[in-house]
Symmetry: none
Subunit: 121 residues, 4 copies
DNA sequence: GTGGTCTAGACCACG
DNA sequence: GTGGTCTAGACCACC
């Protein structure tokens, strides 16, 4: 659990949580079966409300990235490396399509995108 | 004025307006001195509230992309081609830095970003 | 809005809400574009918390049965009669598969199921 | 004892146990007088808590489907074939009434229910 | 006015 | 101990 929360960000806290944890799962930092901290503990550690943590956890479960055993806790789902790569790419492509639309609205060619992206990456 | 508004989008309408017009200005579609339609007219044409249009116009003026002549209307600012290119890149790079952070959070290399970006572009 | 809430039921309130409204939508009682009552109003009318109503609404939106326009309200989605029938059957079949498993666990044949079902229907 | 437990199911484990065993008794798979495994053994075999097994056994005893002889164990109750059939139907009809209400809430006719049920059975 | 988010605290079922 | 649900009330952005 290595999470950074920004209260000033325009992005909702639960979404920050969701994005960071899903990224950690899909790039293999959190192994299958890994037990996430109890929501109450996570809430106090992160300094947010229980409900906020729960909302993020729910979204993770909805995408089958974690599973819940009531009374036991929440655990990282069992995904094969192939599945993880697929899910990761799906997630990124979904976001990237929106980003690409933005770049295109400014008339950028793919080559220009590459050139600028190399600068900031 | 070629604008597409989505009421159901999670993105605020005024921001959709702002993004699309600023993009059109910075890629040269709207020439310097071009007179934007009066706020009331734009509002009825787009089917949005006057307040919403005003908010978008204010944001455009704040970034010196348009200027207002009281009683006459709003006009696209005078920007040299160099300035326009500079402003366009600034705007894109600002967004791109955020996008890049997102991609990096999933552990993508720049090459992987290029590969996926080529798919959606 | 014709909703019956049971506080004593073992079924969560938000799920009762979801089930009843989704049923009303999918059997055509609530027409496309129909504006649901504001969540605060619905909450007071039903005597439940705003959050409870919101949770039900969120689930409806997740299944594209309603859509939200921030600042305006929530509206029944536009679904063709064919789509509605399809969605209705999907929803029922999902539940029915579980019910069928239960009946099968008692060794019932399909004919016995029909016979008993006719009694209670 | 042929039981399948799902930890991730929303249905409580004790209830899964109860449902499966009661079904086996009422369809005659477990004969009258058959000795259920000791709670501790059942618990370890199924990989669940003793408390959980006990709760299921208690529910079975409450419905007179099994009886306990202190120090000896739990045994399947003596039920005549007629009684078993009656009890089975009672149990199924109770559930079926709920299921029927659900189908009816979607406006299904009994014929539509039969048609769909045939698909999944 | 609307929905979107968040808080702090409570009670319950399950194991 | 765990998660699941619910409450009452607050603040914000958008329109």
């Amino acid at each position: 659990m290595n999470i950074a929360i920004s209260n000033t960000s325009e992005k909702p806290i639960y979404q920050q949580l969701f994005e960071q944890i899903s990224a950690q799962i899909l790039k293999g930092e959190l192994e299958s079966g890994y037990g996430l901290p109890p929501i109450r503990q996570a809430a106090t550690e992160l300094g947010v409300s229980i409900i906020t943590v729960k909302k993020a956890w729910e979204e993770l479960e909805r995408l089958d990235l974690i599973y819940t055993i009531t009374g036991k806790g929440c655990f990282v789902a069992d995904l094969s490396p192939d599945e993880m790569l697929q899910r990761r790419n799906d997630m990124i492509l979904q976001r990237m399509a929106i980003d690409a639309d933005y770049y295109k609205s400014f008339g950028l060619t793919i080559e220009e995108v590459f050139e600028l992206m190399r600068k900031v990456y």
